[in-house]
C-alpha cells in the first residue's frame, strides 16, 4: 500500500474545480495521485507539484483582448480568449470554422490532458480543404485577473489539403495557469506547417498539449517556440498512422533568468515506410532551465521506419541548465533509427573569426545565435511568418 499523497493548495483548487465541473472521477484520481513529481518519469525534469504552487480560479469569461503577440500581414486570424473561441472576419476559401462543445484531446494518461478534457467547455474547430494560401493564425489569450484557463482546438486537414497554421499564446501580466489542448488530424497526402509560439507574460504558467494523427503520404512540419511564460511545458504526441508519411518536428526553448521551459515529444510509428526528423534546440541564459524529452516508438508493424532525433543545446551563462533525454523504443526489426544530443557554449574560435573582421563581440554573438537557430526558421516558407519568428528570436536576444 502506498502512503496517501499530501495535497497542496494547487491540487486542492484543481480538485474543487473538477468536482464543480462534474468530473468526479478525475477529481478522485487527482486526489489519490496528486500532481506529478520528479518520480513520475514523464515529469522527471518538470516537477509540477513543485513548480505549480497555486492554481487561480477558473476563468469566468472573456476579458479584454490583448494585442496579438505577432502580426502576420494577410493572415486569417481567429482568437480564443479565456477558453472562448471568437470567429470574425472573412473566412478564406477552403476553410470551415466552427465551435464545438467539450474538448478535443483524446483519452490519455496524462494529468494536463485529463484536466483539459474535463474542464475545456468549447473547442474551436477548423476543417481545411484544398490549398489554403494565407496563414491561419489562432491567437490564444488568457486575460484579466489571474485565471486557470483551459482552451481547445481541433484541426482537420482533408486528403491532399495544404495549410500553414500559426498558434500564438499570450497572457496579461498575472499568475495565470493556461492549459491548452489541440488535436490535429492530417488526411492522406495533406501538408501542414504548424507553428506554435508562447509569448505569455513571465508570471504565467503555459501548458500545452498537441496531438497529431498523421495519415498516409502526409507531410507535417511543426515548430514549437517557447519565449514567454515563467513555466512552459509543451507536450507533443504524434502518431504516424499511414504509410509513407513524413514529419519534421522542430522546436526551440529560449530561456532566461528564472524560467523553466520543457518540450516533451513522443512520436509513435504505427505504420511502415514513414520518416520523422525531430530537431530541437535550446538556448539558455541567466539562471534558467531548458528541458527536452524526445521519444520515438516504432511499433512492430512499422517496418522501414526512418527516424532521426536530434537535440542541440547552447549555454549562454554558467548558471543555466540544459537537460535532454532522447529515447528510442523499437519493436520492428527493419528500421533506421538514431538519436543525438549536443550541448555547448558559443565557439570561441568562431567568435574570434568574426571579431577579427571588425564585428563587435555582442554583434558576433548575436550572429552566431541566429545562425544556430537558422536551421529551424529557414524551412518556414511563408515570408511574413518567417520574419515574425525572426522578430521573436531577435526580441529575446535583445532581452525583451
Amino acid at each position: 500500500m502506498r502512503a496517501p499523497v499530501r495535497l497542496g493548495a494547487a491540487e486542492n483548487t484543481l480538485i474543487a474545480q473538477l468536482n464543480e465541473a462534474g468530473a468526479r472521477d478525475e477529481a478522485e484520481r487527482l486526489g489519490l495521485s496528486g500532481l506529478p513529481t520528479r518520480r513520475v518519469e514523464a515529469y522527471h525534469y518538470t516537477d509540477l507539484k513543485l513548480l505549480l504552487r497555486a492554481v487561480p480560479p477558473l476563468a469566468a469569461g472573456a476579458g479584454e483582448a490583448l494585442t496579438p503577440p505577432v502580426d502576420i500581414p494577410g493572415a486569417f486570424r481567429l482568437s480564443i480568449v479565456n477558453g472562448r473561441p471568437h470567429i470574425a472576419g472573412e473566412v478564406p476559401k477552403g476553410v470551415i470554422v466552427g465551435i464545438a462543445e467539450g474538448a478535443a484531446l483524446t483519452e490519455r494518461d496524462d494529468v494536463l490532458v485529463r484536466l483539459n478534457s474535463a474542464l475545456a467547455r468549447e473547442t474551436l474547430t477548423l476543417t481545411i480543404e484544398g490549398d489554403v494560401g494565407p496563414v491561419i493564425h489562432i491567437d490564444r489569450q488568457t486575460t484579466g485577473v489571474a485565471a486557470h484557463a483551459p482552451s481547445s482546438v481541433r484541426l482537420f486537414l482533408a486528403d491532399g489539403a495544404r495549410a500553414t497554421i500559426l498558434e500564438t499564446y499570450a497572457t496579461s501580466d498575472a499568475a495565470h495557469v493556461a492549459n491548452h489542448g489541440g488535436f490535429v488530424q492530417l488526411g492522406r497526402g495533406a501538408t501542414l506547417t504548424h507553428v506554435t509560439v508562447d509569448r505569455s507574460a513571465r508570471p504565467s504558467a503555459h501548458l500545452a498539449t498537441t496531438e497529431y494523427e498523421i495519415g498516409g503520404e502526409a507531410k507535417l512540419r511543426t515548430l514549437t517556440v517557447h519565449a514567454g511564460a515563467g513555466l512552459e511545458r509543451a507536450q507533443i504526441f504524434a502518431r504516424m498512422g499511414g504509410e509513407g508519411a513524413h514529419a519534421d518536428f522542430t522546436g526551440l526553448n529560449l530561456t532566461d533568468g528564472g524560467q523553466h521551459a520543457d518540450i516533451t515529444l513522443e512520436v509513435r510509428h504505427a505504420k511502415g515506410h514513414c520518416s520523422c526528423k525531430p530537431l530541437y534546440k535550446q538556448i539558455a541564459r541567466g539562471r534558467s532551465k531548458a528541458v527536452f524529452q524526445g521519444k520515438i516508438v516504432v511499433e512492430r508493424d512499422a517496418q522501414k521506419t526512418d527516424a532521426k532525433l536530434m537535440m542541440q543545446g547552447l549555454m549562454l551563462s554558467d548558471e543555466a541548465e540544459i537537460l535532454s533525454k532522447p529515447e528510442l523504443e523499437i519493436f520492428a526489426d527493419d528500421v533506421v533509427c538514431g538519436h543525438g544530443s549536443t550541448c555547448g557554449r558559443l565557439d570561441e574560435d568562431w567568435l574570434f573569426y568574426l571579431t577579427s573582421r571588425g564585428i563587435p563581440q555582442r554583434e558576433a554573438e548575436t550572429m552566431l545565435v541566429r545562425g544556430f537557430i537558422a536551421e529551424l526558421l529557414d524551412p518556414i516558407e511563408d515570408e511574413g511568418l518567417n520574419a515574425a519568428l525572426q522578430g521573436v528570436v531577435d526580441g529575446w536576444l535583445a532581452g525583451k
Binding site: 568562431w350 571579431t355 577579427s356 573582421r357 563581440q361 544556430f372
Partner: protein
C-alpha cells in the same frame, strides 16, 4: 622618417605556462611586403594570432604599433577597424551564418567604428561582385554559409575576398599557401598582388619558399624559437630552401 605601418618591439607572449614569442622585433614600412619564414612550431602562427588579439595568448612584454596606434590595448574588432587583417591558415566554417550577411556585417561594423556611413545594399553588392570576379568567386559560393563546404582553395580565395573588401592597411597572411595546388596558389597570389599599394603593407608567413615566387617580398625574415634571427632580401628565402633551417637554429641558440 615616416611612421612604419607595423612596428613590433620586444614582443613576448605565452600560452598557459609556455613562452612562445621570446622577444620579436620587426618593422614593416608602408607599402612593403615582408615574409616571415620558419619551420613548423617556431611560433609564426602565434605571432599572427597575438597581433590579431586572440584570447588564448597572454602578452607578457613588448609593444605593437599599427601606423602609430598601440594595438595591444585594442579588442580584436577594434584592431580590425584600425586596419589590421589576418588571413587565417585555417578559415573557420560557421554554419548558419550566410557569407553575404557576414561580409556586410563586417564591412559596416568597420565603417561604423571609423564614423563612416553604412554601405547601401546596391553599393555592397557591386563591391562584392567586383572583388569576387577577379578571384573567380561566383554567387553560388556566396550564397552558402560562411566557409561551409568550401574547398581548401575556395576558403583561401574567400579570405582574400574579405581582404579586398575590407581594404586593410596591414595584412597578415598566415600560411596562405597551405593546402593549395599550383593553380589555386597562382589565383590567390594574383589576388594578393592586386592589393599591393603604397598605403598597404603585408606580412606573409610561410614555411615554403614556393609562395614567395608568386608574392615577391621586399624583405625576408627568418623566425626561429620565438624570435627573428636573420633578415635579408628575397635571396635569403632561396638560401633557406637550399640549406634548411638548421643553420639558423644555431643563431637562435
Amino acid at each position: 622618417m615616416t611612421t612604419p605601418m607595423l612596428e613590433i618591439r620586444d614582443l613576448h607572449a605565452r600560452i598557459e605556462d609556455r613562452e612562445i614569442l621570446k622577444g620579436v622585433n620587426l618593422i614593416v614600412p608602408k607599402g612593403e611586403v615582408h615574409a616571415v619564414m620558419g619551420r613548423n612550431g617556431s611560433g609564426k602562427s602565434t605571432l599572427s594570432y597575438v597581433l590579431a588579439g586572440k584570447e588564448d595568448y597572454e602578452v607578457t612584454a613588448g609593444e605593437v604599433l599599427l601606423d602609430g596606434v598601440n594595438l595591444l590595448d585594442l579588442e580584436p574588432d577594434e584592431r580590425a577597424a584600425a586596419g589590421l587583417f589576418l588571413a587565417f591558415q585555417y578559415p573557420i566554417e560557421i554554419p548558419g551564418v550566410a557569407t553575404m550577411t557576414f561580409l556586410k556585417a563586417a564591412m559596416n561594423a568597420q565603417r561604423k567604428a571609423r564614423g563612416e556611413p553604412e554601405l547601401t545594399t546596391p553599393d555592397f553588392m557591386r563591391a562584392v561582385k567586383e572583388a569576387g570576379t577577379a578571384l573567380r568567386i561566383d554567387s553560388d559560393m556566396l550564397k552558402r554559409a560562411l566557409n561551409v563546404g568550401f574547398s581548401g582553395g575556395e576558403k583561401k580565395r574567400a579570405e582574400i575576398l574579405q581582404m579586398a573588401l575590407l581594404k586593410p592597411k596591414m595584412c597578415i597572411l598566415d600560411e596562405t599557401d597551405s593546402g593549395l595546388d599550383i593553380d589555386a596558389l597562382k589565383l590567390v597570389a594574383e589576388g594578393v598582388n592586386a592589393l599591393r599599394a603604397p598605403d598597404r603593407s603585408m606580412l606573409v608567413i610561410t614555411h615554403y619558399q614556393r609562395l614567395l615566387n608568386h608574392i615577391v617580398p621586399d624583405v625576408v625574415h627568418v623566425f626561429s624559437d620565438g624570435r627573428i634571427v636573420e633578415s635579408g632580401t628575397k635571396e635569403l628565402a632561396l638560401e633557406l630552401e637550399a640549406k634548411g633551417y638548421a643553420e639558423f637554429d644555431e643563431a637562435a641558440a
